[in-house]
């Protein structure tokens, strides 16, 4: 036994498997999760009042979902599980938690960050219209709320989620007006050798594509999205491929370009970051065992690098073993080695994915000046370019200071990948050279009343008051 306090942030596949290893070693971990029920995004469970069959919710992944969700359920008596709780700050060895409108500190000896990912978005004009959502949102509407984002939907962008979500809609009674992949079809073929590192996953992708084609869904590759049209809501999407312009009528659009890691807590905890050319993003540095650059802070799952749910289970378990070892508890080196070896296969597959679903290389050059990049503050591509040109700004935090990009309610979660590409394109440098936005607490907006209550505010003595 140990008296060490081990905190896991995130109850998705990585967090759940990390908890399992800790419990097996006799540690009672604190598992903090923002969602009301565990599962993360991929195995997100609907509200109690809206239960459905797992096969219906998770499709091919129902077996995996059942395994990890049932395991975590069985472990609950041995876990200090705190749903509906936001970690809004990490500093030193203390987290700040928000639950039920109240904030409280939580100290830790070991911290396993399994914070997951959000959609990576390269926007196009009209993307702020009602009815335009991320691919992840389209899936969450279906999985969590048993709703389609509209009766007739265009799915666009690129990434494995594109075909998965399109097929999920088609098989739940939605009309898929078109699937518009920004990557070329040739890229899929080029990626095959690496994707065969996980043949069953590659086969699933091919299956979705074949079923969509059989269902008569138009599927196009090498597409550039031009504009979501509509006044008060989206009514159509214009796009071009092979030099020809098209318009597809629709009631909704789901789009995205893969995923991006949620790294804010790692940043606030002081972890060093490196530029990752595969993901074209700055990610917290970690060892194969999941150790960050900060002693006692571990990284797992898609929050550390986008490798998917299966890899998240592996890296979650591995990071927990590292944490156990570091608090001087016995750990099976054989298990640790197995987990690391399985993770390497996942990385090879991931390299294949990045080829198959390559980001549109000319996105930044082609984005029109009037494109809104920041949804929160409505900062446009033209304003970012103008700022770069007029001030010589070459760095993201300077661009933020001058234009308010990344300063709105989302803290740059949605706009940062697009803004960084626009800045790099405007000044003619590599993406990595514009750096990354520094993370600021709170991670998400807090009630102002809470900030007032949280700040140490000694009452001002009567004789020192102004009035």
């Amino acid at each position: 036994m140990t008296s060490a306090t081990v905190v896991i942030v995130g109850a998705g596949p990585a967090g759940m498997r990390a908890a399992e290893q800790l419990v097996a070693a006799g540690v009672r971990p604190i598992v903090i999760d923002e969602a009301p029920r565990f599962g993360g995004q991929i195995y997100r469970q609907p509200p109690m009042a809206l239960q459905r069959e797992r096969r219906d919710l998770y499709g091919f992944e129902a077996g995996k979902a059942a395994a990890v969700l049932d395991r975590f359920t069985a472990l609950l008596p041995h876990i200090d599980y705190r749903p509906d709780t936001l970690v809004w700050q990490a500093e030193g060895k203390t987290l700040q938690l928000l639950r039920d409108g109240r904030s409280e500190p939580q100290a830790f000896d070991a911290l396993i960050l399994a914070t997951g990912a959000t959609d990576r978005v390269l926007p196009f004009p009209g993307w702020t219209l009602p009815g335009v959502y991320t691919l992840g949102a389209a899936q969450v509407a279906l999985k969590y709320q048993a709703c389609l984002i509209g009766p007739r939907v265009v799915f666009a962008g690129t990434g494995p989620l594109l075909y998965l979500v399109a097929w999920q809609y088609a098989s739940h009674g939605g009309q898929v007006a078109a699937v518009l992949d920004s990557a070329a079809f040739g890229a899929k073929l080029a990626a095959l050798p690496k994707m065969l590192a996980r043949p069953s996953v590659a086969a699933k992708g091919a299956y979705f594509l074949a079923r969509l084609r059989l269902a008569g869904v138009p599927v196009h590759h090498g597409v550039q999205l031009l504009k979501a049209e509509g006044e008060s809501r989206v009514t159509g999407l214009t796009w071009q491929a092979g030099g020809v312009q098209h318009r597809t009528a629709c009631d909704a659009v789901g789009f995205g370009h893969g995923l991006r890691s949620e790294t804010q807590l790692a940043d606030m905890a002081g972890c060093a970051f490196d530029y990752n050319p595969l993901e074209q993003a700055w990610l917290p540095r970690r060892s194969a065992a999941g150790r960050s650059s900060v002693r006692g802070v571990y990284l797992a799952g898609d929050g550390a690098a986008i490798l998917g749910a299966d890899a998240a289970e592996l890296s979650g378990a591995r990071a927990a073993l590292a944490a156990l070892q570091d608090v001087a508890l016995p750990v099976s080196q054989a298990t640790a080695a197995q987990l690391e070896s399985a993770s390497r296969r996942q990385l090879r597959f991931r390299e294949g994915l990045e080829t198959a679903f390559a980001l549109p290389p000319r996105w930044a050059a082609e984005a029109p000046d009037e494109l809104i990049v920041c949804r929160c503050e409505e900062v446009t591509a033209g304003e970012l370019r103008l700022c770069a040109k007029a001030t010589g700004t070459r760095e993201m935090n300077r661009l933020k200071a001058l234009t308010r990009i990344g300063m709105g309610r989302c803290q740059g979660r949605i706009c940062a990948p697009a803004a960084a590409r626009l800045l790099a394109d405007a000044v003619g440098c590599e993406l990595k050279d514009v750096g990354r936005l520094r993370s600021q607490a709170p991670v998400k907006p807090l009630p102002i009343r809470l900030m007032r209550d949280t700040v140490d505010s000694e009452p001002v003595p009567l004789d020192e008051r102004d009035d």
Partner: protein, 94 residues
């Protein structure tokens, strides 16, 4: 007109009553505020800058686009707030 469309053939759920832009409305137990509104309307709010309609974007509490004003004061992040009986919500400035 509604933005979201419910799946058909689901088990019936209890009704939850709420107010939307002054009108009495109902939705279902298990609905988020976002689902409750967008199954009968096509916006959650207007932007501060250009009074353009917005209806959320990420649905996982990351983008903060889906906030909704309540008549009684507080704002809710609609995608991750469960609908409660008696909520009074408004999508347009009074």
């Amino acid at each position: 007109m509604a933005l979201l469309q419910r799946l058909k053939n689901l088990a019936p759920r209890a009704t939850v009553h709420f107010e939307l832009d002054g009108a009495a409305c109902s939705a279902q137990q298990g609905d988020t505020v976002l689902t409750a509104i967008l199954t009968q309307a096509d916006r959650l709010r207007e932007t501060e800058f250009g009074a353009q309609p917005r209806a959320g974007f990420c649905l996982i509490g990351a983008c903060q686009d889906c906030w909704v004003q309540s008549v009684d004061g507080p704002r809710f992040r609609a995608c991750s707030t469960g609908l409660e009986d008696g909520m009074r919500l408004c999508t347009r400035p009074a």
